[in-house]
């Protein structure tokens, strides 16, 4: 034994005079560190209820529960996460995954309650004392569990694109599409928002899996125009995609197009395998636009004999005559239409109802009639001189360009309007070699046109003059020209809280000379093919039908859909109208196919 070893342990006494480690008031003296993973804080107004927190939670500690305050909001599922602290392990993957960035953790970690059920709470909705806590774990901005940025789409340069009518968007290749598809978080917000409720997450999954056949089948369940919608859809889905909240939304439209591009038209029949059992009933469809053809497709699949009456010499409606080829080439549209025709849908082109065949005879000859005649009459600007020969309608210019006719616009044109037709007409005019000025009464942010369309128009050197109200159209010295008088406008807040209104400033007037003026401020319907009596029996408001639940009208056998029957007036809504009318017609003509239970559910 060593004496030193015997004495050394007595050194412990020295420590008796040191300050103790123990904190006497740990709750006050020792809050959680600034990045501590404590109790959840959710900014419920920022949260959109996408459910990513629920998906990533490996303990199933998060449920999505309905919160009334948020139900029915656009781009909001109406659900909010409820946390179960009997299961939570505070790993904060929910915070890392949160698309809206609304979820974080506080540094609060003490909570006592006698009631076990208390420890289940909807953060941000139920009041908790740590709700305003500034400290605690939050995801670093640079850290993502999914790639926040979109795979860039290759496009023709503005210089190349105005050379002709070649499609501007080149489309993803397989690798790009896989990468883009990988970004999807499968929340389903897009499905809820899409008018046709397309099964977006699943067809995006089919891209990840490389199973394009499955992707095509999924798309055709709800939309027989995937090649078209893959190019020109108004894509409300993307506007609500939660990935876009802190990054770029998934390029759903381009992914849809990618699937169609990967499948050859001749394989459609094999893949879709639409077996048709004839049921012996006949349906007439008026108008071969997206609404009419969608109804025709789904009716044909149910075994109906379908005849589509079309006034123009080709099917497609606005898709063919209203959308320029650089956005939707005929090849894309024809791919969709050809498949519908291949199922045995008969399209009678150049047949105008009311002129060539009367509406009443259709009513007599067919078991049901579906009207989808669209909006074909340009709206009036309601200013003097509007009937000047150098004033053209945007629709006419687009139709001429689509048919290969020269619309005769000259070299310097003014386009009036801020919608998609105005942008299309402008960009078509650029391709026909004209200098284009767009006059719009409000601001760019108020334009109803797709933001990409506006940007592309600007890139193609269309000048946009905002807050410009046309006042009068006058003869120019040269009869091949026309003078437009327009005034500057100030935006005035609506006292009722509506959107700001442009007010003409009488002292700031301009007069400009153009070769022609293209008016593109909206369109209305042409229902002249219906007799007065029929029109009276159909509920019509402001030139549009107001159909019932199954697109039916008060006139037996008559169903309506498309732009002429809905307020949203876009292709995808028309397609859904057609699909829904097909269900309605089938219910009407074959009620025996639907059990009472079905009817209750619907």
């Amino acid at each position: 034994m060593n004496l030193k070893d015997l004495l050394s342990p007595f050194y412990v006494w020295q420590r008796a005079f040191e300050k103790p480690y123990t904190s006497m008031r740990p709750i006050e003296e020792r809050p959680g560190s600034p990045s501590y993973r404590g109790f959840h804080i959710n900014v419920a107004d920022t949260c959109v209820g996408c459910g990513c927190c629920h998906t990533i939670c490996q303990n199933d500690a998060i449920d999505m529960v309905p919160v009334e305050k948020y139900s029915g909001n656009k781009g909001d599922s109406g659900l909010r996460p409820r946390f179960d602290y009997g299961r939570c392990c505070w790993c904060a993957l929910c915070v890392d995954m949160c698309t809206a960035g609304s979820l974080r953790l506080s540094n609060e970690y003490i909570w006592t309650s006698r009631e076990p059920a208390d420890f289940m709470f909807v953060a941000g909705v139920e009041e908790k004392h740590w709700q305003d806590n500034e400290l605690g774990y939050r995801r670093e901005k640079s850290y993502h569990l999914y790639p926040p940025r979109r795979i860039e789409m290759e496009m023709l340069s503005p210089d190349e694109s105005i050379e002709g009518f070649d499609e501007v968007v080149k489309g993803y290749d397989v690798e790009q599409a896989k990468k883009e598809a990988d970004r999807c978080i499968e929340c389903g917000m897009c499905v809820a928002t899409c008018p046709a409720h397309m099964d977006v997450p699943d067809y995006i999954k089919s891209i990840r899996d490389g199973d394009y056949d499955e992707g095509l089948r999924l798309m055709y369940r709800t939309n027989p125009f995937p090649a078209t919608c893959g190019r020109i859809c108004t894509r409300r889905c993307e506007s609500v995609c939660p990935v876009g909240l802190q990054g770029d939304s998934i390029a759903i439209r381009w992914l849809k197009r990618h699937i169609v591009d990967q499948v050859d038209a001749k394989d459609y029949a094999r893949i879709l395998n639409d077996n048709i059992e004839e049921n012996g009933k006949q349906v007439a469809v008026i108008g071969a636009g997206p609404g009419g053809l969608s109804a025709a497709y789904y009716l044909r699949k149910k075994g109906y004999e379908v005849s589509v009456y079309e006034a123009q010499d080709k099917a497609g409606g606005m898709l063919r005559y209203g959308v320029p080829g650089y956005r939707l080439p005929d090849s894309g549209l024809d791919k969709d239409i050809n498949y519908i025709v291949s199922l045995g849908v008969e399209i009678r082109n150049n047949t105008r109802i009311g002129t060539d065949i009367s509406f009443e005879s259709l009513l007599n000859d067919y078991d049901a009639v579906f009207l989808s005649t669209g909006l074909s009459v340009p709206s009036s600007m309601r200013i003097n001189g509007e009937d000047h020969p150098r004033v053209l309608s945007g629709l006419q210019v687009l139709a001429d360009a689509a048919s290969g006719r020269d619309p005769g616009i000259g070299n310097k044109v003014a386009v009036i309007g801020g919608g998609n037709v105005a942008m299309d007409a402008s960009r078509v005019s650029r391709r026909l070699g004209a200098d284009v000025t767009i006059l719009y009464r409000r601001r760019i942010s108020d334009m109803p046109a797709d933001i990409e369309e506006i940007h592309e128009a600007q890139e193609e050197a269309c000048t946009i003059v905002t807050q410009a109200i046309p006042v009068e159209i006058m003869d120019a010295p040269d009869e091949k020209q026309v003078i437009i008088k327009w005034g500057e406008a100030e935006m005035v807040q609506d006292p009722k809280g509506g959107r700001p209104r442009p007010v003409l400033q009488e002292d700031r007037m301009h007069e400009d000379t153009y070769d022609c003026i293209i008016s593109a401020i909206g369109q209305g319907s042409n229902l002249d093919y219906l007799s007065k009596e029929v029109q009276e029996q159909l509920a019509i408001e402001w030139g549009r039908f107001t159909p019932g639940e199954y697109q039916h009208t008060s006139l037996e056998k008559v169903f309506v859909g498309g732009d002429v029957a809905n307020r949203t007036a876009d292709a995808i809504s028309a397609i859904e109208d057609g699909h829904h009318a097909a269900r309605g017609i089938d219910r009407f003509l074959r009620p025996e196919m639907y059990t009472e239970l079905d009817q209750e559910i619907s």
């Binding site: 123990t22 600034p34 990513c52 990533i56 790993c91």
Partner: protein, 389 residues
């Protein structure tokens, strides 16, 4: 090599003669599993002749949570929150190995700064773990002052973890692809403070515990691991190094940034419980030096995460890998198999406790007496949760 004394274990693997319990000469005694603190939930079934142990059998099963199986049903990112639970006092090594394995299998590389922070994190973990171990070893021999010091001081290290990672025990910080977030502001100052204090504490511990006549008397000659035993028994880490086997993955197969740090493998020759304890004390000091080096040398800025695919449907191509790191107890390994799906096909966790707590323990216990068995268990530094993954 010095002469080994005490109960030197032979390499005789033959089955011993069964003990004749009916003779009335022997008593069975269970050590554990009610030892939640020191060695965790495992138990030793001891057969005693007087107070001498003539047979020892390790029993596990009290803590089986089926981690390896659980991981097969969770996707890759979800598992990152599961792995830390496999070794409670040392979650960081699990986090690191799991992340490293996935990165190897999917071809992702963590950025340089993240690698430095990971190294720092692992060394802090080692420090915290050794602090607790010193307390455990001292307490197991009846010296209850030192545990009060070191386990309390470990909390200062856990405070650092809390600041650095957001969690004291389960850090969940080393995500596949890098680390979750940057070091907090003025972290280096606080690390320095804690390290200075730790160095001072270790000096005091050395005086009170290692230069203690009782501790020496009880630990010297106890549980001798001969160099010949090391390979057949799969003994690793300080247990092997105390027998003169210079083996340390940080030097032998450097991972992270260990090749940029200055340190030597510490080894001893005594091979008994005292030698192992002293070696761990030195390694604790080395650990402090490594933490200081990390803080001084790591790049001041830089990305912390590699670009990751969407973790919700992250698929990893078919493959397998074995990744390993030197934890406080030796080689800690993850064997991982992927099959191209969103779920891992198989994870096998190779924890050093498996062999140390079962085969080695059963061997070394024979011939010791009942009062030393707790000290011997701690001396082998085993964690039951990693036996029962």
């Amino acid at each position: 090599m010095t002469q080994l004394t005490g109960h030197s274990a032979s390499l005789d693997f033959s089955q011993p003669e069964p003990v004749d319990m009916s003779s009335g000469k022997y008593v069975k005694l269970w050590q554990g599993p009610q030892h939640p603190g020191i060695t965790g939930n495992m138990s030793l079934e001891l057969t005693l002749d007087g107070d001498e142990i003539i047979e020892c059998k390790t029993h596990v099963g009290y803590l089986h949570r089926a981690f390896e199986k659980l991981m097969e049903g969770r996707n890759y990112i979800q598992n990152f929150t599961v792995v830390c639970r496999i070794a409670v006092p040392e979650p960081a090594f699990n986090e690191y190995l799991y992340a490293e394995g996935l990165e190897q299998l999917s071809g992702i590389e963590a950025p340089e700064r993240a690698q430095w922070i990971r190294t720092l994190n692992l060394e802090m973990m080692r420090l915290a773990s050794f602090m607790m171990w010193i307390g455990g070893q001292s307490g197991a021999f009846g010296l209850y002052t030192v545990p009060n010091w070191t386990i309390a001081y470990r909390d200062y290290v856990l405070d650092l973890f809390e600041e650095m990672t957001g969690g004291r025990i389960y850090h969940m910080y080393m995500v596949p692809g890098g680390v979750r977030f940057d070091l907090p502001k003025d972290f280096d100052k606080r690390v320095k403070e804690v390290m200075d204090g730790a160095e001072k504490l270790l000096d005091q511990v050395e005086r009170v515990m290692y230069n203690n006549v009782v501790f020496k008397a009880r630990s010297k000659g106890l549980g001798i691991i001969t160099p010949e035993m090391v390979d057949p028994y799969g003994i690793v880490g300080p247990n092997a190094r105390a027998s003169g086997i210079k083996r340390d993955l940080r030097k032998d197969e450097p991972y992270l940034v260990y090749d940029q740090l200055d340190f030597d493998i510490i080894s001893g020759t005594g091979a008994d419980a005292y030698e192992r304890a002293y070696l761990r004390l030195q390694e604790t000091r080395q650990c402090i030096s490594l933490i200081r080096q990390c803080m001084d040398r790591m790049p001041r800025s830089g990305p912390l995460q590699a670009e990751m695919p969407n973790v919700l449907h992250w698929k990893i191509p078919p493959g397998e890998t074995y990744v390993k790191a030197e934890c406080t107890r030796g080689e800690y390994g993850y064997f991982m198999v992927t099959d191209g799906t969103e779920y891992i096909r198989r994870v096998f966790v190779r924890g050093p406790s498996y062999t140390h707590a079962i085969a080695v323990m059963e061997k070394l216990a024979v011939g010791t007496n009942i009062a030393d068995i707790a000290g011997l268990m701690v001396s082998l530094h085993t964690y039951p949760p990693e036996i029962e993954r």
